[in-house]
């Protein structure tokens, strides 16, 4: 289970990333954030976001139209 969940469904680029960044800011180090999104572009974007910021993308899944990402705050 993630420590926090962010529902970014229905939002388009760049809002899922921007909302995730805000949610990560509030999170303590090593806690996890789950993000739910419907933007297909968010798959690549969360990979790039994590590579660049140094956070850890633990999981990236798809269930129907909904993508879910699990990020551990490591930066």
């Amino acid at each position: 289970m993630a420590d926090e969940t962010l529902d970014a469904k229905g939002l388009n680029c760049p809002l899922p990333i921007l909302r995730a960044k805000k949610a990560l800011n509030k999170l303590e180090a090593d806690k996890t954030l789950e993000i739910l999104a419907t933007d297909p572009g968010s798959v690549k974007d969360f990979e790039a976001f994590c590579r660049t910021t140094g956070n850890t993308l633990i999981e990236s899944n798809q269930d129907g139209d909904v993508y879910s990402f699990l990020i551990k705050k490591t930066s």
């Binding site: 939002l11 388009n12 760049p14 419907t38 930066s75």
Partner: protein, 170 residues
């Protein structure tokens, strides 16, 4: 050392500057999307607003999109795409119509408004510079603009550009 690792260390953060020259609804998106995203990714971001881009700093935004000069503009319609020829722009009410269509698409697709992105950029400490010469040229007053932009000219921007990893002109 690979660049990515360098970026993740505690060295000076990466940085980006954008010269913002366009003030229509469609052209306002790229600079604000890139600025907010780069800031979220830990970059120091500077936006330099000049010429028609300066209108994006007005307190009240009233952005429009026109077919004029947008030769390849198409709008999704009834399952297909309808071309929006330049000549349409000359018809009464056409710019209002294309603006309405674009705003409807923005809403339907969960795309942020420019107001929202601008707010997010300010929140993320994006440095905003308004071009002094444009202000004078088009007779804008500082009080017409949102709070916060610093005034500067070409040399101010060039100094920023020499220190930025990414420099874009939009």
């Amino acid at each position: 050392m690979p660049k990515r690792e360098k970026n993740m260390s505690n060295d000076k953060p990466k940085s980006m500057s954008i010269i913002v020259t366009k003030g229509s609804l469609d052209q306002a998106y790229p600079p604000f999307i890139l600025a907010t995203t780069a800031a979220a990714m830990g970059l120091d971001v500077t936006l330099f607003f000049t010429f028609y881009g300066l209108t994006l700093l007005k307190k009240k935004l009233d952005l429009k999109v026109t077919t004029l000069g947008n030769a390849s503009m198409e709008m999704p319609m009834m399952g297909g795409h309808m071309a929006m020829p330049n000549i349409m722009a000359a018809m009464p009410g056409a710019p209002a119509l294309t603006t309405k269509m674009m705003k409807d698409l923005i809403k339907k697709n969960g795309v942020a408004s420019i107001d929202e992105l601008r707010e997010l950029a300010i929140e993320a400490d994006v440095r905003i510079i308004a071009c002094q010469m444009t202000l004078d040229l088009f007779d804008y007053k500082l009080e017409d603009l949102i709070d916060g932009p610093e005034l500067g000219g070409a040399a101010t921007y060039i100094e920023v550009a020499t220190q930025s990893d990414i420099n874009l002109f939009i």
